[in-house]
């Protein structure tokens, strides 16, 4: 069996890739994809914990997070379409009307 440390590091690495994507990407669609990567890193860790401890809580969390990811993307894509209709671009840097 793989040591639990490796799973933790893999998950943290995936999570960092996701965070980097959110911070560095300027396209709204790619930001949503990076958020998915972050959530998948979390899911991986939950499943690992579930099989390590032998209790089903983690797998239930997996189902709930899956639901969250789907609904978040649904709301997010709604905003993407809205934004594209108005600005004809998905560049989040164009969203800079609000400045103090």
């Amino acid at each position: 069996m793989i040591s639990i440390h490796w799973l933790l590091f893999l998950s943290l690495a995936l999570f960092s890739i996701g965070v980097y994507g959110v911070v560095a990407r300027r396209n709204l669609l790619f930001i949503l994809l990076s958020l998915e990567i972050m959530l998948n890193a979390v899911v991986l860790l939950f499943i690992a914990g579930s099989s390590f401890h032998g209790n089903p809580d983690g797998q239930i969390m997996y189902l709930l997070i899956l639901t969250l990811a789907a609904s978040e993307v649904a709301v997010g894509l709604g905003l993407v379409i809205h934004m594209y209709r108005q600005h004809h671009t998905l560049d989040v840097d164009k969203l800079s009307q609000l400045r103090g």
Binding site: I4, H5, L8, S11, F15, G18, V19, V22, L28, I31, L35, M38, L39, A41, V42, L45, F46, A48, G49, F52, H53, N55, D57, G58, I60, M61, L64, I65, L68, S71, E72, V75, G76, L79, H82, M83, Q86, V92, L95, S96, Q97, L98, G100
Partner: protein
């Protein structure tokens, strides 16, 4: 099935009812009344629970303080609801869905306040934040509203991903997601203790995003300015109260405060929030941005309470005193803030401090209400805000936290300056440029103003009844 789940069930039924009526026939008045009726019934069912014996289940905890906090939440939502009809009529959008999203967000925050398990906490949090994305981006045809919606979506998604990561790490460490089990676990985990610290830092990071504390505060002013006014009011009250209650509950779990790193991080964030929030508020001319920065500072003050568990108690106060201080401060702050927003909703065309010039000479009631609320935010005696701050300072002095106290004092002095500037603007002689002719006073608004004055001054002058109630509840 016990009585404790009744409020949530009533809210769910209200949501279903308003969804059904919406799909059959669109009618603004009906949606407004269904929403109001549902909120009223929920409040009644919560009111029945106050003072009753509590119960704890795997997913939820209903102790003495939970129904009280939920009731406060509902009162805040209803105070916003009172003004929603007129406000939405002026809005050039479909109106009925706003009530639906409002009810769902309220349901989510009720679940969060009562949660006793990471699963229920997570579900409540997401129910609330996803509804809030809809509420923030409600007037999507305006560029500002759209921008605020996108920013809120990214912000809340990052915050929940961070919190989930923290939960996953704690789960890997201890093999349980229940708050009760976590508090019974000692230091013995499957992995070394730095893993626990990492998990806690992830959770705290997500919470700081939700409460918009200092390293994570960048977009909060944009949100307050860009979102529709009623949504900003809800964001400032509902979402922050729910997040803080959960943070407060999980911080007393396990032995979090035995890790020196965690205590240092929270103390640094608290001091930074008090100073940075007030400094940025000083530079603001826009009223909503000013409120956003003032809310950063206020939650910085509240973080002091979290640290109390870490320092040794001295004898002259009871052990429940910090609970009383949190509850009193939260209630005082929420009522003040919801008052400010309801005054702002009565004059939608006013955006900046200059717009307020000479308001007192045209609409004295509005001006006096706003002035009292500003004094309460600043913490001037005879207002409810002063009593809240008094509790907080007394607890901190008792625990001898001098660094945090000095930051609190400096922050409050800076804050006083910009709160008083708003009042100054209102009593200046009118310069003829500001136009208040569009302001129509409604009976609802007038009544609400008097209620706010009564609450802020009444509880500020005679706090005894209220603080006794809180004392009995927190002993409960």
């Amino acid at each position: 099935m016990s009585l404790h789940y009744l409020p949530a069930i009533v809210l769910i039924i209200t949501v279903l009812l308003s969804l059904t009526s919406l799909s059959l026939k669109r009618h603004h008045g009906i949606a407004y009344l269904i929403c109001g009726g549902g909120l009223l019934l929920t409040m009644l069912s919560l009111f029945m629970q106050i003072g009753k014996t509590g119960t704890t289940s795997e997913l939820f905890v209903f102790d003495a303080i939970t129904p009280f906090l939920s009731l406060i939440l509902l009162i805040v939502v209803s105070m916003i609801w009172v003004q929603l009809y007129q406000w939405l009529e002026a809005l050039d959008e479909r109106k009925e869905e706003y009530y639906l999203l409002l009810l769902l967000a309220t349901l989510g925050s009720l679940i969060m306040v009562a949660s006793n398990h990471f699963t229920s906490f997570f579900l409540g949090l997401e129910l609330m934040s996803l509804s809030f994305v809809g509420l923030v981006a409600y007037s999507g045809r305006e560029f500002k509203g759209q921008e605020a919606g996108v920013k809120y979506l990214i912000l809340s998604a990052v915050a929940s991903a961070l919190m989930l990561m923290g939960m996953a790490i704690l789960y890997l460490q201890y093999g349980t997601l229940s708050f009760n089990d976590l508090s019974m676990q000692g230091a013995s985990g499957t992995l070394p203790s730095w893993v626990t610290v990492t998990g806690i830092i992830f959770i705290l990071g997500g919470m700081f995003f939700k409460l918009s504390l200092v390293p994570c505060h960048l977009w909060v002013a944009d949100l307050f300015e860009g979102a529709p006014l009623a949504t900003s009011a809800l964001l400032a009250t509902l979402s922050k109260l729910a997040a803080f209650v959960v943070l407060w509950r999980i911080f007393s779990l396990g032995e979090w405060h035995t890790h020196a790193v965690i205590v240092d991080i929270v103390a640094a964030v608290a001091i930074a929030s008090m100073l940075v929030g007030n400094f940025l508020g000083l530079l603001q001319n826009n009223l909503l941005r000013l409120l956003a920065y003032s809310s950063i500072a206020h939650f910085g003050y509240l973080l002091i309470i979290l640290l109390l568990a870490a320092s040794p108690t001295t004898a002259f106060l009871t052990s429940t005193f910090s609970t009383e201080a949190v509850v009193f401060y939260l209630v005082a702050y929420l009522f003040t803030l919801v008052g400010v927003f309801s005054v702002l909703m009565q004059m939608p065309q006013i955006k900046t401090q200059q717009d307020l010039t000479g308001l007192f000479w045209h609409k004295p009631t509005l001006a006096i209400t706003l002035a009292l609320l500003m004094l309460s935010l600043a913490g001037i005696p005879l207002t409810i805000g002063f009593m809240g701050k008094f509790y907080l300072v007394m607890t901190a002095v008792n625990h001898q936290m001098w660094w945090l106290l000095s930051a609190l004092v400096i922050g409050s002095v800076i804050g006083l300056f910009y709160y008083l500037r708003v009042i100054m603007m209102m009593i200046k002689a009118p310069d003829g440029e500001s136009d208040f002719s569009g302001l129509t006073m409604t009976t609802n608004g007038q009544l609400l103003n008097y209620l706010i004055i009564f609450l802020v001054i009444g509880f500020g002058t005679f706090p005894a009844a209220f603080s006794q109630l809180i004392e009995t509840l927190s002993r409960g």
